[in-house]
């Protein structure tokens, strides 16, 4: 090898190549993310504006768009009754899902029973296979057991469709607990149920919180089932209400649309801050590496 000392004198672009690359990457990211940002900013700005010009600039601030909160819209049920229904739906789905998946996840993670691996595969398939294509039959089932047009029908349906996947998520949290902890509990003289209740359950609290939030949000946002299986206005939830408003006021009153939409999306945004951290760290397992 020759004894030459190379020169590290570089052009501006070479020296700053990493900084330039970063700037380019961030610019591209901002550009492709723009529709999302624009949409949500509009929703907020528009709901408080008389009218807007040039995309985002309000001509005059107003609360008129929020009138649906204190006066009933003609042909629509009371907004607070509808909001209460939405809450009941979300909480119901959440309660059932937590109760069952905290147990189901443990069983999937820690018990060896015949057909375990078949069941795990079945759950994955189930998740990929939207039950939405079974709507016709579900309609008949709900009618048959008298839960058509009932909030309970939607709660049970929604919970049962999500329990398999919820159990899978909980399984992931249980999988993360070292076997030694459970072995120690058994050696220390506890039965398996006691070990579950006293050792495992406290350790998967974060998992239960995540599952609870997702269950709540999915109940809160549910559209298709409510739209299809609920007819009486007193049983409406917000998704049905907003859908109706979109249909009736779309070209007439964007301010109202934005306000109703923003009202509906607030809990989602609040919870979003809690779960987005978890979601972006979530790894969907089961992939050959």
């Amino acid at each position: 090898m020759s004894k030459s000392s190379s020169s590290y004198r570089l052009t501006f672009f070479q020296r700053n190549s990493q900084k330039i690359a970063q700037a380019v990457i961030i610019t591209i990211l901002v550009l492709i993310t723009l529709p999302i940002i624009v949409g949500y900013v509009w929703l907020i700005v528009r709901s408080f504006s008389e009218d807007i010009v040039h995309g985002f600039i309000p001509t005059k601030l107003t609360l008129k768009n929020w009138r649906f909160l204190w006066q009933e819209m003609k042909g629509y049920p009371n907004i607070w009754q509808t909001t209460l229904n939405t809450f009941l739906l979300a909480l119901g789905v959440m309660a059932i899902e937590i109760a069952i998946t905290s147990m189901g996840g443990y069983v999937l993670s820690r018990y060896d029973f015949p057909g375990r691996s078949a069941m795990l595969k079945f759950i994955l398939v189930l998740h990929a296979f939207p039950a939405i294509s079974l709507m016709v039959a579900i309609f008949y089932v709900l009618w048959n057991i008298g839960l058509l047009d009932k909030l309970w029908g939607i709660i049970l349906l929604k919970a049962s469709l999500e329990i398999p996947w919820g159990s899978w998520i909980m399984k992931g949290f249980y999988d993360g607990i070292p076997w030694e902890l459970e072995w120690a509990g058994l050696v220390d003289g506890y039965g398996r149920m006691k070990v579950w209740a006293k050792i495992m359950l406290p350790l998967v609290k974060p998992g239960m919180a995540v599952t609870a939030i997702f269950a709540f949000l999915s109940g809160w946002s549910e559209f298709i089932f409510v739209y299809t299986f609920i007819f009486s206005q007193k049983t409406w939830t917000l998704s049905r209400y907003v859908m109706g408003i979109i249909g009736d006021y779309r070209f007439a009153d964007y301010g109202l649309l934005a306000a109703v939409g923003l009202f509906y999306v607030i809990p989602s945004i609040i919870f979003f801050f809690f779960v987005s951290k978890y979601m972006i760290k979530l790894t969907i397992g089961g992939v050959k590496g």
């Binding site: 090898m1 000392s5 190379s6 020169s7 590290y8 004198r9 570089l10 070479q14 020296r15």
Partner: protein, 366 residues
């Protein structure tokens, strides 16, 4: 080949000071080891030399040129990683050729260079295999080949031997050393294994908690450690520390005294003592600098044999010091000598070679 000069270099990750005001120099063609426990900042320093990290403060020079802002690809360095970082989806040939392809060399040239370097490292028969299909030692050679093929001016090693078994590690140790001295490439080698640093490097930089504690030749580090950390980290078994000795002068002589034990410091050494000595000092003695006697002798410290650790050629005798039950000294016994557990003995330090440390600052006094 350029020299490397690191001047007042610091690297913070948020509030964590990974490296704190470190300066050292690596001469043209020299082999320097960065030694220290995990988390001491040695790997951060290496990655900064590579250009992967940028200094928070300070300067890095290659030759006389500041390279702080120079991206890795323009630094002309070769690097060997701890897990080798061989791309699993490429064949051995493709792995070695990767740096040449980035330089856009012609096909013939790439093939020629890859074959030459593969031959030198005795992996030319493995070129079609995938990294997963060859042994750890072979993967190591491929990683070396990939670092060397671009004819770098600086070689960086990040604990390259820590994943090999003990036997292979000894073999590769010698081989890397030979290769480096043949090629004369300026090299920096990160390791937590003091034996590796001692055997391979011409100079060692000992790191602790983000700071460079001592920089010197292996002999300097071993014989004149700058503080108790270096003294304990380098050498196996580590240096023995006997606490709570006082330095007393009686007439012309200087003694190290603790209870009934009284050690006379040779005249040749007492002159090196500083004027002010702390009230209590720690006496440091290497395992090979003790002698074990069965009868009471001058400079002897009484104790009982605690346990024996035969190593085949040598025996390490563990002696529990009387009245200081927490001090278990490890001593290489003279060949042929045999001891039994619980035997009463006197351990005699070679006072020409003892070290004295300040227990507060842990700095070396003598």
């Amino acid at each position: 080949m350029p020299s490397i000069r690191v001047v007042n270099f610091s690297k913070y990750f948020g509030k964590v000071k990974a490296v704190d005001n470190v300066s050292f120099e690596v001469e043209d063609g020299e082999f320097v080891a960065l030694l220290g426990p995990s988390g001491c900042g040695k790997t951060t320093t290496l990655l900064t030399l590579a250009g992967i990290y940028k200094p928070t403060a300070g300067e890095i020079y290659f030759g006389d040129q500041l390279v702080n802002d120079v991206p890795p690809k323009y630094r002309n360095i070769g690097m060997v990683f701890q897990n080798y970082a061989l791309y699993p989806h490429m064949s051995v040939f493709e792995n070695i050729a990767f740096p040449l392809r980035a330089k856009k060399l012609s096909k013939e040239e790439i093939t020629k260079k890859v074959k030459t370097v593969a031959k030198k490292l005795m992996i030319d028969q493995l070129l079609d295999r995938k990294p997963m299909q060859i042994s750890g030692g072979q993967q190591q050679r491929v990683a070396l080949a990939r670092a060397l093929v671009k004819e770098p001016e600086i070689l960086l090693f990040d604990e390259p031997l820590s994943n090999l078994d003990a036997k292979l590690r000894m073999l590769m140790r010698a081989e890397i050393k030979k290769l480096q001295s043949d090629l004369g490439i300026t090299s920096v080698y990160v390791t937590h294994d003091q034996a590796e640093a001692m055997t391979m490097a011409s100079r060692i930089a000992v790191f602790s908690m983000g700071k460079l504690v001592q920089y010197g030749t292996p002999d300097e580090i071993y014989d004149h450690p700058k503080n108790m950390f270096v003294a304990a980290f380098v050498g196996n078994p580590p240096m023995n520390f006997l606490k709570d000795f006082s330095v007393v002068s009686e007439g012309n002589s200087v003694y190290l005294q603790r209870g009934t034990s009284k050690l006379r410091l040779p005249d040749s050494r007492k002159g090196s003592l500083p004027e002010v000595v702390p009230e209590k000092v720690v006496v440091g003695v290497r395992p090979e600098d003790f002698r074990i006697e069965r009868k009471e002798v001058d400079n002897g410290i009484p104790g009982t044999v605690y346990v024996l650790e035969p190593l085949g050629r040598d025996v390490i005798v563990n002696v529990r010091v009387e009245n200081h039950e927490d001090e278990i000294t490890k001593i290489f016994a003279e060949p042929g000598e045999t001891f039994k557990p619980n035997e009463r003995v006197y351990i005699v330090p070679n006072l020409e070679k003892v070290h004295l440390f300040d227990p507060e600052t842990e700095e070396t006094i003598l």
